[in-house]
């Protein structure tokens, strides 16, 4: 558990360092995730302790949104000013993304099935 947590933090730290060093346009933890992903491919799987700790951490992922979400108190004036605009933009763009992704995936899989006879 402690070892696994240390490993996750070490990958995050490596990610942060790489972002600072190479001026990457991505957040440090995301680069850390990519590094861990590469390490898993090289190693051919995750050690049991790391898989368990990660599962535990990810099962409470939504809790971790809460502190940042409460930051809405900082933006009550922004919301009062442009709440309607934000609402429309969020609603329409989210449904558009779902529709486009779902339809594109359906058609693309149909296409590759027809072409190669496999999926």
């Amino acid at each position: 558990m402690l070892w696994a947590l240390t490993a996750l933090l070490a990958f995050q730290l490596a990610g942060e360092a790489l972002v600072a060093w190479l001026q990457l346009p991505a957040p440090g933890p995301v680069v850390g995730m990519a590094l861990l992903f590469i390490a898993l491919i090289i190693r051919g799987g995750a050690p049991k302790a790391l898989a368990e700790t990660s599962r535990g951490l990810l099962s409470h992922l939504s809790l971790m949104f809460v502190p940042a979400g409460v930051g809405v108190t900082l933006h009550l004036t922004v919301l009062a000013d442009s709440g309607a605009v934000i609402g429309v933009a969020l609603f329409v763009s989210t449904l558009a993304a779902i529709a486009v992704t779902g339809l594109a995936m359906t058609w693309a899989m149909r296409l590759s099935k027809r072409k190669g006879g496999q999926e």
Partner: protein, 238 residues
């Protein structure tokens, strides 16, 4: 009464109070969500945030004081994001098989979501800070906040918009996909994960295992794609 006030002043100056309140609020939210049988509007994060905002407003506590306690929970987002590499790796074989279809649909959907959000907000007259805060709304919060900060948005506003996007997708996504005759679980999962990250993925898991797996992949890949591409597109647009 003054004695009570003294104790309150003492406790609220320590991070312990707001850390505990955060955990309690989330667990109440989670309990209500599960009791309702997973009703999307009773999203545990939304409930917890609403309760905590009410407490802060009633007790006249500023966000900085609250965050002194809540930051210990917030900090875990970093290692949790790194941990997403493991489910991504576990689903590697399944992803490989439909990789070309998956990648092209995801890129299309991801671009549609971000550009539609930017375009609509801008057309309706939102300021540049608000537009920048909306743009990365479809990816998991840790990534979205990083991208938002990078393109000149407000990370804490983005966090809230990410949350609302997730709930919107989870609430209306499955019905919309049904309406559009999307029946394949891989397509359904990919769409929910690409548009509504973790909250969409939680909904996709309820459809079936394949939808859940593809939603997780879409969430991870869209996170990487958005983190890499959105700042570049933003610089090109503005």
């Amino acid at each position: 009464m003054s004695h009570f006030t003294e104790i309150w002043v003492y406790l609220s100056s320590s991070p312990l109070l707001h850390l505990t309140l955060t955990l309690i609020a989330y667990q109440i939210g989670d309990w209500a969500y599960k009791r309702s049988g997973g009703l999307a509007v009773l999203n545990p994060v939304l409930l917890a945030v609403a309760m905590l905002v009410a407490v802060l407003l009633i007790t006249d506590t500023d966000y900085g004081t609250f965050f002194e306690g809540a930051k210990f929970v917030h900090f875990l987002l970093g290692p949790a994001t790194v941990a997403l590499a493991i489910p991504l790796y576990n689903q590697l074989e399944q992803v490989k098989r439909s990789l070309p279809a998956l990648l092209s649909s995801l890129a299309l959907g991801s671009a549609t979501g971000a550009l539609a959000a930017i375009g609509i907000a801008w057309a309706l007259g939102a300021g540049p800070t608000v537009v920048a805060s909306i743009a990365p709304k479809s990816v998991t919060v840790a990534i979205a906040m990083g991208v938002s900060a990078e393109i000149g948005g407000l990370p804490s506003l983005t966090a809230m918009l990410v949350l609302l996007t997730g709930i919107t997708g989870a609430m209306f996504g499955p019905a919309l996909l049904h309406l559009l005759c999307v029946r394949d679980s891989r397509a359904k999962g990919l769409a929910l994960g690409a548009a509504s990250h973790g909250i969409g993925t939680a909904r996709a898991v309820q459809i079936d295992e394949t939808a859940g797996a593809f939603s997780g992949i879409a969430m991870g890949l869209n996170g990487l794609l958005t983190a890499a591409m959105l700042p570049l597109i933003w610089r090109w647009l503005f």
